[in-house]
């Protein structure tokens, strides 16, 4: 699915988190929103997911206006920075949550839900942890469960907020490859937020560099490295 962002802006009270920004994301791309904290990248991601409402502008999914769609209607697989796993549910129940929340007509039967959850646990390479609770998992495992939970709803796109932020360096490297693999097998349009330029360079097809609520530059990793458009980008990339 391709995503079109048209002149989106967002103000919290009197402070502008996003000045009007426009961006077009082709279907199937893996995009990094890269910038320091306070650059507006998380706000933009939350607007795509329907968790924030823009002050002005439009969001189009496959050419259709999606601005007024509710969170539920968007079917965006969202991975939160804190993972936001339901702490009182097992891993299995966490992953099954979105399927069970569907209206009766489209809700898969119990065995079908179980089969899908098992398949997702295989996909994230953690087949045996279905009965555990989030508190019994390592950071890396939690991140992968959050990813599986987001994938379970058969999302139209995947949105990830600092997916590797809370992990140590070794696990981070490993999971980067995991995300790349999942993106390649599912073919989902994927947007992730990061402040780590190395991570963006290594993982993304397309990098969107942001600063102070504005988009500084959009381009392929080698393009941005070779030809930074603004002094900010040059400094941020070389940091």
């Amino acid at each position: 699915m391709n995503i079109e962002i048209e002149e989106i802006s967002k103000a919290f009270g009197t402070t502008a988190a996003l000045h009007p920004v426009s961006l077009s994301i082709p279907s199937g791309t893996l995009v990094a929103l890269l910038g320091p904290s306070g650059s507006g990248k998380t706000t933009l991601l939350r607007i795509l997911g329907g968790l924030e409402f823009p002050s002005a502008g439009r969001v189009l999914f496959d050419g259709a206006d999606a601005t007024g769609l509710t969170v539920q209607e968007r079917r965006a697989g969202f991975v939160f920075q804190s993972y936001a796993l339901f702490r009182h549910m097992t891993v299995f129940d966490n992953i099954a949550y979105g399927l069970r929340a569907r209206p009766r007509k489209t809700r898969p039967a119990g065995p079908e839900i179980a089969r899908r959850v098992t398949r997702l646990l295989d996909l994230i390479k953690l087949p045996d942890i279905g009965a555990r609770y989030p508190s019994q998992l390592s950071g890396g495992q939690r991140q992968r469960v959050a990813l599986a939970r987001a994938l379970a709803i058969e999302p139209r796109m995947l949105l990830l907020d600092e997916p590797f932020g809370a992990l140590d360096a070794r696990v981070r490297k490993e999971l980067r490859q995991g995300l790349r693999d999942i993106h390649d097998t599912t073919g989902l349009t994927t947007v992730f937020v990061t402040h780590d330029q190395e991570e963006a360079m290594e993982l993304a097809d397309l990098i969107v560099v942001m600063s102070m609520g504005r988009i500084e530059q959009v381009g392929r990793p080698d393009d941005i490295r070779a030809r930074p458009k603004t002094p900010f980008v040059r400094e941020f990339i070389s940091a």
Binding site: F12, G13, G50, L51, E52, F53, T67, G68, T70, V71
Partner: protein, 283 residues
């Protein structure tokens, strides 16, 4: 597009705003705001400030208000000192039965005030266990005197300081105490100059809560107080007496005086707290 012009609230996809805000505001209005408004209206519009003053400015009312605040202050000061000591003992020391003692601190929260009232009277009356002892050995009467009121109010306000200070003591970084010792401070000096100032804001909060509670306390006091006009008659009791005489204006005037003094005290304590927090930085 959907209407999202309501500027009271930032827009969000979180559901249930109308329902939750509606329930909250309507119940708050029916149970608290409208009744309080009626009281203030009755007092200031129907009766007038001059009328209120005329009621208060009589010896019996004045004595009752003074007694209520004096006794609440004495009891809360006792609870301030004792509460800090007890919180320290409960966090730092080990002794048998500590769990039970810790749980029992909340007894005044859970025990109905009327039960506390008759129970305290039973043991502090001249024929009760402690009452007889104090009378015989010290010639001191407790029940049916102002001391009895103090005892009841100490009981009622006991948990507040303990419960606000306890978590703060648990969070004290031991290194702060150790550094004080390495700098040559005696243990006593460490406590008075390092630890107690750290506890001060929480202790003051507890003190304010205890004070607010004991100023208006009725149930536990009336049994032990003796209720002698001008001597051991507390302000809430005088409101009840006025109501029984169908003197609504008199009751309203005393109630408004009590509210005014309570809020003045709470405001003062809040200001002290802000001041002490600012002086100590972000604590």
């Amino acid at each position: 597009m959907t209407s999202r012009t309501l500027s009271l609230k930032a827009p969000t996809p979180m559901p249930g705003w109308g329902l939750s805000f509606g329930i909250m505001l309507s119940m708050l209005s029916v149970v608290v705001l409208i009744p309080m408004g009626v009281l203030l209206w009755r007092g200031f519009v129907d009766f007038g400030a001059a009328g209120i003053w005329e009621v208060i400015n009589r010896p019996r009312v004045w004595a009752a208000l003074e007694l209520s605040f004096r006794a609440a202050l004495v009891a809360s000061l006792f609870n301030l000192v004792f509460g800090v000591a007890l919180a320290w003992v409960l966090v730092r020391y080990r002794f048998p039965g500590k769990r039970i003692v810790d749980a029992a601190v909340d007894l005044p929260f859970a025990l109905p005030t009327a039960v506390a009232g008759i129970a305290l009277t039973a043991i502090y009356a001249p024929r009760g266990v402690f009452g007889a002892f104090m009378l015989e050995h010290f010639g001191l009467r407790i029940a049916y005197t102002e001391i009895g009121i103090w005892i009841a109010l100490i009981f009622v306000g006991l948990p507040f300081v303990v419960r606000t200070v306890q978590p703060v003591i648990e969070e004290i970084d031991r290194e702060t105490e150790e550094v004080s010792a390495t700098l040559g401070a005696s243990r006593l000096r460490t406590i008075t100059h390092v630890i107690l100032p750290m506890l001060a804001p929480a202790a003051l909060t507890g003190f304010a809560l205890a004070l607010a509670r004991s100023v208006g306390e009725y149930g536990s006091v009336i049994f032990i107080a003796g209720n002698l006009p001008n001597v051991t008659e507390i302000a809430p009791l005088l409101i009840v007496i006025r109501l029984e005489e169908f003197d609504y204006d008199g009751a309203v005037a005393i109630a408004i005086a009590m509210l005014a003094i309570s809020f003045a005290l709470l405001l003062a304590i809040n200001l002290i707290q802000i001041w002490s927090r600012r002086r100590m930085g972000a604590v």
